[in-house]
Symmetry: C2
Subunit: 465 residues, 2 copies
């Protein structure tokens, strides 16, 4: 049963499991105690810190273990912002950061700070010059991921780090998605990582704060982990995390080219095999194991279930699969289609055959979902049936209907207005704002903008073809 | 090699180990995902939550897993204080809470809140009436541990919970030390626990918030664990924590009486075998497995090392063993001797023989430390040698000398002043404030108070015998 959701979490690596089991007997005691059990625990913790620091490329005293990558990011941002509060309260983040970065930014804003987001191009990448242009004398911190978690695009960290260094602003790199592939290049100041993304256990994050970075840990004081990560140390897990990062790096170096070829194959073949699909993310500057595509007129959750039934575990950034009912902020920032979104992230060791089977399954799964939703195919009669007697202006009320229904309703009626006529879709679904313009671009129709209406938004589309 | 520091942390219970290893294969995925690996992880998490809630005595939807007991306390206090900020910012805590409670209280005070500490008696116990008297119309939260972590004294939680309920104030119980022995009685509102204290793995805390308690989680928002504990769930550890709590409870019920007898034996025999010792903590209302004593004129760290060399792992609340150089706030609040402090906390299954061997070792170890420090024995010639020609006022300069030296200096010279004369000890060691009055009480001399002097404090003692 192929698991293609490595970017969420991967099974425990055998080296991690071995290290975990081996250290359960030695690593349970309090490393702050003076007795032999405490000293043994301390030795394990120190050795794990050295191994992890070596793999990340920092000094051991610059690295602490947190209870998760999210906690590492929270601590990094609150500590760096507080440490530089005299400089100012301006924070710069890319618009496609992980939600834990954006939620920290929102908390900073709620407490009176100022946040500016650096936009990305259609491939999900920031422009270093645009990033640098937002840095100011009162900028306390800048944040840029090493690679995007939803579309795999690698960010220009070395260039942005140089710009930050020149401006005297510390740069925090969320390296959760890339640490498995190697150290983060460039002259960054802070870094966060997450062990369960590389085959380490759950419950371990890394926080690196370079010497010389002003840092004031927030929250109640606690002596553990240099005061930067409160709570009793989880030493067996930390040992497993450090041991597995080294082991996984060796494998990753061997696997990179092979997985790259597999993800290239999926990107190419999906575009050929599935009608009305948009393969998103930078085709070149991306993680080797991750790719993402969106399918017009498809309900992401139903498609996930179809693929799950066929034995493939993937994830989706479509709003229809999320409890928050908002489409992925990453796809939104990129301005690409969000409906029918599928992220494929291959674990190390993924079999060639499984990828080929996946490619056999996807077109049918997408077609089935579309058929269930009664989707008109591109160029099908409904599209072409505009009579001269048709009204030049049509309004479709899709209020209360969830993604992808508003777009499907639009597709169903566009053929009923003459070329040059308009369809106005009323929708209260957050995904419509993203998907109606994306549909227009894919269908070569003109998107004419939105207006608030009672209970939702009116999106206006002019028929061109 | 007997390990007598169960109150710090205990080895992984076999049931925990088994559950951990069994769930490593099933519990690594993201429980928020819709694919089969995610659903399996979700099932494990839900089952663990039900088991833990059953053991704690709450509803599953009232309990979330945190990454440590410390984190559970931090989240409980910040969430409850924020949830009731309209009521007021007054916080009541006992003076002998765990440092994670007191550090949260300090953070609350630093942000403009008001904190009041409820004193304890010489046994370390709060008086419910005194606690109730501090509750006010603007009290947002009250905190009381179920039992003290340093001296084992059980607190009157049911009585205090009733008083809080009557005053409309939520009570948070830090149950880290007692959860192994059973659910916390009484009508409390919030509860925190820590798995590695009962034989569960490191990396798991419990936070219970009763329905109806106003609670506003602080920090950046995060969807996991009802928004109350940010970061990826550590499911294998959570499963192990829940499974072991149930298993350990059954054993604890059987072991309570036996360990109680062993700790009674140590309390009684240490008082008989070791000169100038103070056994502290409530003799009756206490945890079955924990006892504490302090030895006059003893350096706690050296004594720990002596006992460690003899094969016994214990801990100490003496300042001389701590990196902070301040004596235990618990012993200070109780007003008892802090020097030469030893906490013995027996794990389930402790052998009778090991306790007897410990009792054979302790008197010699204490004597050896005292001999090294050149301590005059009680009633020894130095004590009795006051000549009529002696000065009636003596000043001892112990500035720059660490605990227990200032008290030893005092003991060395007290015999040189006539009965009715005074010795003034100059000291800049924080433990002196606690230990000089305690010494006077044990030696039946009169403590006459302190005065600030250049570089420290002058403690004045009048010779009575």
């Amino acid at each position: 049963m192929p698991y293609f959701d490595a970017a969420s979490s991967v099974p425990l690596h055998p080296v991690a499991r071995q290290a975990l089991e081996a250290s359960l007997d030695e690593g349970w005691a309090d490393p702050a105690r003076l007795h032999r059990e405490g000293r043994r625990a301390r030795l394990l913790l120190d050795a794990a810190r050295e191994a992890a620091a070596d793999a990340v490329g920092c000094r051991p005293d610059e690295l602490v273990f947190t209870s998760s990558g999210t906690r590492a990011v929270h601590a990094a941002m609150s500590g760096a912002l507080a440490g530089r509060s005299r400089v100012g309260r301006h924070l710069v983040v890319s618009s496609v950061e992980h939600s834990c970065v954006l939620h920290s930014a929102a908390a900073h804003e709620a407490s009176g700070g100022e946040v500016q987001e650096v936009p990305v191009d259609r491939a999900g990448r920031v422009d270093p010059a645009e990033f640098a242009a937002l840095l100011r004398a009162d900028t306390a911190l800048a944040c840029l991921q090493s690679a995007n978690h939803e579309v795999g695009t690698r960010q220009p960290v070395p260039e942005v780090a140089s710009a930050c260094r020149a401006a005297g602003v510390p740069l925090l790199v969320d390296a959760a998605q890339s640490l498995l592939w190697g150290p983060v290049p460039g002259d960054w100041s802070l870094l966060a990582g997450s062990a369960h993304k590389w085959g380490g256990p759950s419950g371990v994050g890394l926080l690196v704060v370079r010497k010389g970075v002003r840092f004031a840990p927030q929250g109640p004081s606690d002596e553990r982990e240099s005061g930067r990560a409160a709570g009793f140390e989880n030493i067996p897990a930390v040992v497993a995390a450090a041991a597995s990062l080294r082991a996984v790096r060796a494998e990753a170096a061997q696997e990179a080219a092979r997985l790259r070829e597999l993800t290239d194959r999926i990107r190419r073949r999906v575009a050929e095999l599935v009608p009305d699909v948009e393969v998103v993310g930078d085709p070149e500057r991306r993680l080797p194991h991750l790719l993402t595509f969106s399918c017009l007129h498809v309900d992401g959750e139903t498609l996930l279930h179809e693929l799950d039934r066929a034995g493939f575990s993937v994830s989706s950034g479509s709003s229809c699969t999320s409890s928050t009912l908002t489409p992925s902020h990453v796809l939104k920032a990129m301005g690409v289609l969000s409906e029918g979104n599928i992220r494929v992230s291959l674990p190390l060791g993924t079999a060639d055959d499984d990828v080929d089977r996946f490619l056999q399954v996807v077109p049918g799964a997408v077609a089935e979902v579309r058929a269930k939703l009664g989707v008109p195919a591109a160029g099908d009669p409904a599209d072409a049936s505009a009579g001269e007697d048709a009204s030049a202006e049509l309004v479709v009320d899709a209020l209360g209907k969830r993604c992808p229904i508003p777009v499907i309703e639009l597709a169903k009626v566009i053929g009923r207005v003459p070329v040059g006529g308009t369809v106005t879709v009323l929708s209260d679904d957050a995904a419509a704002r993203l998907d109606i313009p994306a549909w227009c671009e894919m269908r070569e129709q003109a998107y004419e903008g939105e207006q608030p209406v009672d209970g939702g938004v009116a999106y206006r589309v002019r028929r061109l073809t």
